[in-house]
C-alpha cells in the first residue's frame, strides 16, 4: 500500500463519511420525478386463503386514483414466473419444485403481507385511502407456519399439484455410507437438535422503488435499493421478460442490505406494469410494517446434528439433517444459504466423513432468502455448538478439543469431504493468539469473582472458516477513466450498502497508481457504465473480486499510459518509467503527468478478472455474565483474531467485524420472527416486539489481525463482510450455554432471552443440580 493512500486515509474517516453523517446521502426514497404517481399495495391480512373476488369499483372512483392492478393484471402480462436458483440436483435426480408467483397474488394468498393489488394515485394519501376501499373476499384455508409441520402428513398444501407435500427440494451432500460406518465405530457421539431462528434483516433504509417506463424503446429506469445492478437486472428480466438492456438504474446510497436488497421483489415488477399502463413514473416507499412482512427473511433452519469421536476425542464423522424453511415461495436467492452450508461443512476440522441431508419445505410465511453469511453462520453454528458440546460431555477444554482436530497447516490446500478446497489457514497460530488476547487461562478466576457477585459467567469460543469471493458473474470488470486534471474515476457495478467501497476501492487504485487518495473517485453502478459485468455486493466478495480488478486496472492504466507517453517522448515503451503519477525516461528532463495523457480526451481502460473462493477464518472468544434473578445477559468481553488476508483498510475491516458480531449476537439474544401457529399472523411485526440489538449490547471488541495472504487474487485479500456474524453466532451461544452448564442446564436454542434463561436456571435448580 502506498504511504500516500494510508496517510490521507488516517485516522478513521472514510471518503463517504462526511456525506453520510451530514445527511447528504441520497437514498431510494429521496428520488422524485416530475409527474410521478404514488403507489400503495393491498396486502393479504391472512396466511392462506383463496381469493374469491377483488372488488375495486369504489376505489377506482376515488379522487386522484389513476390505476388499480390486481393478480389478473399480473397474469395478463405474464409476470408470473419468479426466478429462483435452487438449481442444484436433489436426491435421485429430483429437481426443485418451483411454484409460480404472479407479482400480485392471483387465485390464492399464501402468507400474511403478500401483495395482491396495487393502487397508484396522484398522492400517497389518495392511494392509501383508495387501497382501503378495495374489497377482497377470501375463502380461508388452514395455514401451516412451522417447517416441520409443513412436511407432516395431512399438512395444508400451499401449491397443490406443483409442490406435493410442500417439499420444494430434498437434497444431500457427502457420503452417507462412510458416515454410517464411522458412527458404528465411534467411542462417543454428541447429538444436538438446533434451530437457527428466522429473523428479519431490517436494514435501516426501508425498501423504496421509483420506476419510469419509456415507450420510445420500451425501457425502464429504476431508482431502487440495490446491492448491485447486475443481479437485480438479470432477475427483473427473468421475471418480466423485459430484455436486460432495456432496464436501467440510477442509484446512489443504500442504507444496509445484508442480502435482503439483492433479489428482485414482485413489487418492483408490479410497479413496472403500473408505470407502463399509466404512462407515469410510479413511486413506492415501504413502511417498516410492510418491510417486516414483505422483505425476505433470513436463516430459518432446523438441524439435527451428530458428531462422532474416537477414543482420543478425534472427530470421525458428522451427520446433519436439515430442514430449510423457504417460506411461501422460492426466493430468487434461495439456494445460497443451503449451498454454503456444504462448502464449509467440515468447519476448520479434519472430519473424515460428512453427510448432510436437506429437506426444503414451503410454509405460509414470508419467503426466506440470503441474509448476512447466507448459510455460513448457520453451518458454523451447528459445527461449533457440536464441538463445544462434545468438549463439555468429554470434559475436555473447548480450545484443546479444537486444537486436536484442526486441519494442520501442512495439510493445506485442503480438500474437504464435501468438495471445497481451503486455500490456507494457520489455525494453531490463530487460536494461540486468541487465547492470549482473551486470557483464556484466567477465566476460572473471573468466573469465581462473578459468582461472588451472584452472577453466572460463561466462556464461549468459535473457530470458523467461510467461503467468500467467487460469485455468479462471468467476470468482474472495472473501468478507469483518467481526465486531464489527472483524476481517475473508478467505475464498478458492485454497490456498497455501508461497506466503504468509496474508500477501499479508491485506496486500491490509488496505491496501484502511486497517487494520493483524493485523486481517485469511485462511482458505483453509474449511468452509462452499466454494461460493465460483475457481481453484486454480497457474499463478502467485492474486495476479492472488484477490488482485485481495481488493482489490475491500475496496472493496466500504467501500461497504457506508458505506450502513450513513449510516443510523446519518442522512445520505446520499455524505456518509460512510471512513479507517483509521472512518466519519464532516462536522459530526458521531460515529465509527462497522468493528466497530460487525457488532454485530448479522457483515457479509459477496462480490466477484468475472475477469481475463486477465498477462505477467511477466525477465532472469537466471548465471556458473558448472566444475572440468574432476571436472566439478563451482558457480554463481559469479546475478543477476536481474524485472518481476512491482506488488509486494505484496518478501520473498515474492524467496522465490518463489529457489525457482523453485533448481528450475530443480536440473533442469539433476541431477534426472532414469530408467527401465530394457528392463524399464521406475524406476532413480531414491529420494533415493539421484534428485538433489535442495541449499541450497548457490545461495548467493546478486542481485535487482532492474523493475516495470511491469499493467492486467489493478486491483492492477497480474503472476504470479511460476513466473518463477524459467522463467528459470533456460535461463540456467543457457546458462552451462554457454558454459563448455565454448572447448574446442570443443557443446550438452549436462540433467542436466549432473559425470560428463557431465567426459566432454564429455575428448571436446572429444580432438577437438583
Amino acid at each position: 500500500m502506498s504511504a500516500s493512500a494510508h496517510k490521507i486515509h488516517a485516522p478513521a474517516m472514510r471518503v463517504e463519511d462526511a456525506r453520510l453523517v451530514t445527511g447528504g446521502g441520497k437514498f431510494a426514497a429521496d428520488w422524485n420525478m416530475r409527474g410521478q404517481l404514488h403507489a400503495q399495495f393491498v396486502r393479504s391480512d391472512r396466511a392462506h386463503a383463496e381469493i374469491v373476488s377483488v372488488n375495486a369499483e369504489t376505489a377506482r372512483k376515488h379522487p386522484g386514483v389513476k390505476g388499480i392492478f390486481t393478480g389478473a393484471d399480473a397474469v395478463r402480462v405474464g409476470y408470473i414466473k419468479a426466478p429462483h436458483s435452487l438449481a442444484f440436483a436433489g436426491i435421485n435426480g429430483m429437481k426443485a419444485r418451483a411454484p409460480e408467483r404472479p407479482v400480485l397474488a392471483h387465485g390464492k394468498v399464501r402468507f400474511v403481507g403478500e401483495a395482491l393489488a396495487l393502487v397508484v394515485a396522484e398522492s400517497a394519501a389518495a392511494a392509501a385511502d383508495a387501497a382501503e376501499l378495495i374489497e377482497v373476499e377470501y375463502r380461508d384455508l388452514p395455514a401451516v407456519v412451522s417447517p416441520e409441520g409443513a412436511l407432516a402428513n395431512g399438512a395444508p398444501q400451499l401449491h397443490e399439484g406443483v409442490v406435493p407435500g410442500n417439499l420444494a427440494l430434498e437434497t444431500e451432500a457427502g457420503d452417507a455410507a462412510a458416515v454410517e460406518a464411522a458412527f458404528a465405530n465411534a467411542a462417543h457421539i454428541t447429538r444436538l437438535k438446533l434451530e437457527v431462528t428466522r429473523v428479519a434483516p431490517n436494514p435501516m433504509e426501508p425498501r423504496a422503488c421509483l420506476v419510469k417506463h419509456d415507450p420510445a424503446d420500451e425501457s425502464y429506469l429504476f431508482h431502487v435499493c440495490t446491492q448491485g445492478i447486475t443481479t437485480l437486472r438479470k432477475q427483473l428480466s427473468a421475471y418480466t421478460a423485459v430484455p436486460e438492456d432495456r432496464i436501467h438504474f440510477e442509484v446512489r446510497d443504500v442504507g444496509g442490505g445484508f442480502g435482503q436488497r439483492t433479489p428482485v421483489y414482485p413489487e418492483y415488477c408490479a410497479l413496472m406494469i403500473a408505470a407502463k399502463e399509466t404512462g407515469r413514473p410510479v413511486r413506492w416507499v415501504s413502511t417498516r410494517s410492510e418491510g417486516f412482512v414483505s422483505d425476505a427473511h433470513g436463516r430459518g433452519n432446523i438441524i439435527d446434528g451428530a458428531l462422532a469421536l474416537d477414543r482420543d476425542a478425534r472427530f470421525l464423522a458428522m451427520r446433519l439433517d436439515w430442514i430449510n424453511d423457504m417460506g411461501a415461495y422460492l426466493s430468487p436467492a434461495s439456494p445460497g444459504h443451503i449451498r454454503n452450508t456444504t462448502f464449509c461443512m467440515t468447519g476448520v476440522y479434519r472430519i473424515p466423513a460428512l453427510y448432510a441431508h436437506y429437506r426444503v419445505p414451503l410454509t405460509n410465511t414470508t419467503p426466506v432468502s440470503s441474509y448476512r453469511g447466507a448459510g455460513r453462520p448457520d453451518i458454523a453454528y451447528v459445527v461449533e455448538r457440536l464441538v463445544s458440546q462434545a468438549a463439555a460431555e468429554l470434559d475436555i477444554d473447548a480450545a484443546e478439543l479444537r486444537r486436536r482436530n484442526f486441519i494442520p497447516p501442512e495439510a493445506f490446500p485442503y480438500k474437504t469431504p464435501t468438495g471445497s478446497t481451503y486455500e490456507y489457514a494457520d489455525l494453531p497460530g490463530l487460536l494461540d493468539k486468541a487465547l492470549r488476547l482473551a486470557d483464556w487461562k484466567g477465566f476460572s478466576k473471573r468466573r469465581a469473582r462473578s459468582k461472588k457477585l451472584g452472577k453466572l459467567r460463561g466462556l464461549g469460543i468459535s473457530t470458523v472458516i467461510e467461503n467468500t469471493g467467487a460469485g455468479q458473474a462471468a467476470k468482474d470488470e472495472v473501468e478507469l477513466e483518467l481526465d486531464a486534471r489527472g483524476t481517475v474515476i473508478v467505475y464498478t457495478v458492485s454497490k456498497a450498502q455501508g461497506h466503504s467501497h468509496e474508500t477501499t476501492l479508491a485506496m486500491i487504485v490509488a496505491d496501484a497508481l502511486g497517487l494520493p487518495l483524493e485523486r481517485v473517485e469511485v462511482r458505483q453502478c453509474a449511468p452509462g457504465k452499466q454494461q460493465l459485468q460483475g457481481n453484486h455486493t454480497g457474499g463478502s466478495r467485492t474486495t476479492v473480486g472488484a477490488g482485485s480488478v481495481c488493482h489490475l486496472a491500475g496496472l493496466k492504466l500504467i501500461e497504457h499510459g506508458r505506450s502513450l507517453a513513449a510516443l510523446d517522448l519518442g522512445v520505446e515503451p520499455s524505456q518509460v518509467e512510471y512513479a507517483a503519477g509521472v512518466f519519464h525516461t532516462e536522459g530526458s528532463k521531460r515529465k509527462i503527468r497522468l493528466g497530460d495523457l487525457a488532454k485530448k480526451g479522457a483515457v479509459s481502460v477496462v480490466a477484468e478478472g475472475k477469481f475463486g473462493s477465498t477462505f477467511p477464518n477466525g477465532c472469537h472468544i466471548v465471556e458473558v455474565e448472566i444475572d440468574p434473578e432476571t436472566g439478563a445477559t451482558e457480554i463481559a468481553t469479546y475478543s477476536t483474531v481474524d485472518d481476512c488476508g491482506k488488509v486494505i483498510n484496518h478501520t473498515v475491516v474492524e467496522g465490518q467485524l463489529h457489525g457482523g458480531i453485533a448481528q450475530g449476537a443480536g440473533q442469539v439474544f433476541g431477534e426472532h420472527i414469530i408467527y401465530d401457529p394457528d392463524t399464521g399472523q406475524m406476532l413480531t411485526g414491529s420494533f415493539m416486539d421484534y428485538c433489535m440489538p442495541r449499541a450497548g449490547m457490545l461495548r467493546g471488541v478486542n481485535t487482532e489481525e492474523h493475516p495470511t495472504a491469499s493467492k486467489v487474487s493478486p491483492l492477497g485479500v480474503k472476504g470479511v463482510g460476513e466473518s463477524g456474524c459467522t463467528a459470533s453466532l456460535p461463540a456467543v451461544a457457546n458462552a451462554v450455554v457454558d454459563a448455565l452448564r454448572p447448574l446442570g442446564a443443557g443446550h438452549l436454542d436462540m433467542p436466549m432471552t432473559p425470560a428463557k434463561l431465567w426459566h432454564a436456571v429455575c428448571a436446572a435448580r429444580k432438577g437438583g443440580n
Binding site: I674, M688, P754
Partner: protein, 264 residues
C-alpha cells in the same frame, strides 16, 4: 395517516372548547404514542389539538412538601431538573429511563399519565408516591385515577394540567426493560411516605397496581427481605410471546427488592 385538522391552541380554555365542539378531536402533547398510531391509520381523529406548547402546562416547582410538574413538561426536563433531583431523585431517575433521547425530548408526563400504557414508567411513580392528578376540572388521587389497561378516571374533554407529588422520605425505582420495546417488563416504584411504604408495579400486569401484600409486610419490617415470601399471584400477570406470567411475577419481586434495597 388519515387527513385531519391540526390546531395549535393558545390556552387551556381554547383547548377545552375545541374538545367540546369536536367530539372526535384528540389532544396532542408530545405525540410519542399518538403519532405512531396515526401513522399506522389506527386512529382517525377529526382534529389534533396541540397543547404541547402551552406555558400554563409547563414548569417544575417544589413547595411545602410537594413537587408540582406541569403536564406538558418533557421527560428530559424532569430527568435533568435540579428541583426534581433534590425533591424526589427517584422520579428524575425514572424519567431518564423512558424511551430514548428523542422520546424524552418530546414526550410529556401528562401525555404518559393520560395514556396510561400498562408498561409505561410514570404511572408507577404517580401511584407509588400517591400523587394527585390535577385537571382543568378537578383533582384526582392516584389511587382513584388509574383504572387498568389504558383506562383512567379522566372524563371526556378533561385535560391534565399538572401532577402534584407529595415529597416522600425516600423513594426508589427499579425497572427491567422489555428487550424489544424498552418499556417496563416490570417496573417497581417504592416510596416511604407519610402513610407508610407504597409499592407500585408497572409493566407486569394489565395496568399499574399497588402490591398491597408487600406494603403490609413492609409495615412490619422495612427490609427488602420482608417481601420474600409475600404472596404475588402470577395469574394476575401478563403473558405473551416475550415472557410467561411466572417470569413477570418473578421480575416484580426482584425489582421490588432492588427498589427497596435502594431505599436504605
Amino acid at each position: 395517516m388519515y387527513a385531519l385538522n391540526y390546531v395549535k391552541v393558545n390556552s387551556l380554555k381554547e383547548a377545552a372548547k375545541m374538545l367540546a365542539s369536536n367530539p372526535e378531536a384528540k389532544l396532542l402533547a408530545g405525540g410519542m404514542t399518538l403519532v405512531p398510531t396515526l401513522k399506522q391509520r389506527l386512529a382517525q381523529p377529526s382534529h389534533l389539538v396541540d397543547i404541547g406548547g402551552l406555558p400554563e402546562l409547563r414548569g417544575i416547582t417544589a413547595k411545602g412538601g410537594t413537587l408540582t410538574i406541569g403536564a406538558a413538561t418533557k421527560h428530559h426536563e424532569v430527568a435533568t431538573s435540579a428541583v426534581v433531583k433534590k425533591a424526589i431523585p427517584a422520579l428524575a431517575y425514572l424519567a431518564g429511563l423512558i424511551g430514548d433521547p428523542q422520546v424524552r425530548n418530546l414526550g410529556t408526563i401528562g401525555g404518559s399519565v393520560a395514556n396510561n400504557d400498562p408498561a409505561s414508567d410514570y404511572p408507577a411513580a404517580v401511584l407509588g408516591l400517591g400523587a394527585t392528578v390535577v385537571t382543568n376540572k378537578r383533582e384526582i388521587a392516584a389511587d382513584d385515577y388509574f383504572q387498568g389497561l389504558f383506562a383512567t378516571a379522566l372524563e371526556e374533554g378533561e385535560i391534565i394540567t399538572r401532577i402534584v407529588f407529595p415529597v416522600p422520605k425516600r423513594a426508589a425505582y427499579a425497572k427491567f426493560a422489555h428487550p424489544a420495546s424498552g418499556y417496563a417488563m416490570a417496573g417497581v416504584f417504592a416510596a416511604q411516605t407519610a402513610g407508610g411504604t407504597r409499592v407500585a408495579v408497572t409493566g407486569a400486569g394489565p395496568g399499574v397496581f399497588r402490591w398491597k401484600a408487600a406494603e403490609a409486610a413492609l409495615e412490619k419490617s422495612p427490609k427488602a427481605g420482608a417481601i420474600d415470601g409475600v404472596a404475588l399471584d402470577a395469574g394476575e400477570m401478563n403473558e405473551d410471546i416475550h415472557a410467561t406470567r411466572e417470569y413477570r411475577a418473578n421480575l416484580v419481586r426482584v425489582m421490588a427488592k432492588r427498589a427497596l434495597a435502594k431505599l436504605r
